[in-house]
Amino acid sequence: MLEASVVGRRDSELWRRAITIVVFTIAIISFGVAAPSFFTIANIRAIELSSSVLLIASIGATFVILMGSIDLSIGAVASFCGMLVARLAPDLGLWSVPIACLVGLVFGAINGLVYVYLRIPSILVTLGTATTISGAVLFISDGRSLSVSHAAVIDMAQGALAIMVPNAVLVSAGIYGVAVLVGDRTRFGRMTLAIGSDEQVAALIGVKVNTIKIQAFALSGLLAGVAGVLLAARLGSATVTMGSYMTLDTITAVVVGGTAITGGLGNVRLTIIGVLFITILSDGMNILALPPYLQTIIQGTVILLAVLLNTNRASAEDVK
């Protein structure tokens, strides 16, 4: 009987995936039919660019969420790093990019250290640092937008090796590939799952829980930084709150990708589905020029439907 139930579960999992893909395709096609400008090269490029930025940030968020923690500082870190690039690019040129990413890493590491050593729930640590960092963005920009006035930096996102593939896409694809490998095939990937599933048992067996937690948060900060830099390069300018949408969108993407918000269940691979879902949906609705309130309502409904389709709720004994 065990056999049967497990096999049944696998089947239903396949079904769910299939349905997700079908729904997805239908949505794309109907957007294309309803708005002819949806399938133009310019629009596809726009989707590619904005989903690459979100994908990078979401990858970091996935590992944190797999551990059962949460990172609310992604948006603030992204804004800060984007602003930092805009600020430093005139003087340092391309060097501003690694510096900004490094700053992201440092922010993430601070999150992790505070979380682990002061023993404060991550939601609050990152809420606190998010507030502080968004204050710091105001500080370094004096509340104004800055344009990114360095061609090489802008080229990093907008330039293209191939016609249809902007550099930003190459960067995010590379990061995604590595992340999938890390998630599936390395110690780190497994440990994050173990911590999310049962932290006490993980500690008992000898998992270095604290180290892994700090690493995951540092990674999340780094990737948020990269995403922020790419965003600034893509937009050609940096605004004070340009990254703040990412905080919620990364979480949504991760969850729509089938990762349990309580941790221990899911993987990085599927996060890309969530990212594409969000980006294509909002792009399509924009092109159709739906009124903003309707867009929000549809977006909320679609989140619910997507999670309904894409997560294995039967296996969660007790839905929290």
């Binding site: 729930p121 809420l127 903003p292 309502i297 909320g300 839905v319």
Partner: protein, 342 residues
């Protein structure tokens, strides 16, 4: 003994070990008191700092002002505590507050509904939103985080739709009196109202069967079910209570300004979660208590009010807020009942 590898602790200084043991025992015996005093000291320290920067901080006017400001957060936080206690989360609280505020404003402006009718409508809309959350979580088995993330977005859209994207002005002396007037001396009504709700809710959380069931569900859902607790009903009730209290908060919020603006309650979400966690209720559920939430609310309220009064530069104010949130949680959080910190 020749082969002792843990020498420092055994033979080293027994006095040191004894002292350590005694401290540990002392802490264990008086843990409740120590944990209660920590936050109090923090609040006093904050008040002292702000008062020394600007003596006006401790004036009656400002204290009543502080009470008025914190009343709404207190009501929302009280509501969300019930949900958090059972290990779930309600991300839609801010959106519900906004929705109720705006729809109340529209009801008064366009339909001329009276004060009593508005009160019922506000609580009703809130409760209804809570019921929708409950249905999504319990019927469709969506994790509460996701379900309420969805309703948060949807309700945000609905609010904009109702308001037509513009601010909704209205006039209602009765409502203004409820929100800003005072019956007992100069103590603001909204503050009295919020405290009343808080006290009742604390008692319900600590002593009622409903409260106990919430703790049991948060601490071990399967055990709760096998002990004959009606898990579904309890969970649904928690969401509805949370929604209803948000409705009340939304009404008070709009009563104060007589204007419904979009997103006016959205900030309350993170503040409420922060207040609950600061109070020492675990996000994983099963430990903490409604009565603890007051500490968190006070810390946040004092912080905002104090920084304003102290005239700190806005950018700096934002930066300091984040740091102090982290710092105060470090002090106030009772970690003894947390299995693991997520």
């Amino acid at each position: 003994m020749s082969n002792t590898w843990y020498e420092p602790q055994t033979t080293g200084s027994t006095a040191g070990v004894e002292a350590k043991v005694q401290i540990a025992q002392f802490y264990n015996r008086h843990r409740p008191i120590i944990n209660a005093i920590g936050p109090l000291l923090l609040l006093m320290a904050m008040a002292a700092v702000f008062a020394s920067i600007n003596p006006r901080f401790l004036s009656w006017i400002n204290l009543f002002n502080l009470m008025r400001q914190s009343s709404i957060l207190l009501i929302v936080s009280t509501g969300i505590t019930f949900v958090i206690l059972m290990g779930a989360l309600d991300l839609s609280v801010g959106a519900i507050v906004t929705l109720v505020a705006i729809s109340s404003a529209v009801l008064i402006r366009d339909f001329d509904v009276g004060a009593a009718g508005i009160a019922v409508a506000a609580a009703g809309i809130g409760a209804l939103c809570g019921l929708v959350n409950a249905a999504l979580v319990l019927r469709l088995r969506l994790p509460s985080f996701v379900a309420t993330l969805g309703t948060m977005t949807i309700l945000g859209g609905v609010s904009t739709w109702i308001s037509g994207g513009a601010n909704v002005f209205f006039q209602s002396p009765n409502l203004t009196w409820i929100g800003s007037g005072s019956v007992i001396g100069r103590i603001p009504n909204s503050g009295v109202f919020a405290l009343l709700i808080f006290v009742v809710a604390s008692f319900v959380g600590a002593r009622s069967h409903f409260g106990r069931a919430l703790f049991a569900i948060g601490g071990g859902g399967l055990t709760a079910r096998l002990s004959g607790i009606d898990v579904l009903r309890t969970k649904a009730a928690a969401f509805v209570v949370s929604g209803m209290l948000c409705g009340v908060a939304g009404l008070l919020l709009v009563a104060r300004t007589s204007t419904g603006t979009s997103r006016m309650g959205d900030d309350l979400l993170l503040q409420a979660i922060a207040a609950v966690v600061m109070g020492g209720t675990a996000l994983s559920g099963g430990s903490g208590g409604v009565h603890r939430t007051l500490t968190g609310v006070l810390v946040i309220a004092v912080l905002q009010n104090g920084l304003n009064i102290a005239g700190v530069h806005t950018y700096l104010q934002i930066m300091v807020t984040g740091l102090i949130v982290v710092l105060s949680v470090t002090i106030t959080l009772d970690r003894s009942r947390l299995a693991s910190i997520k």
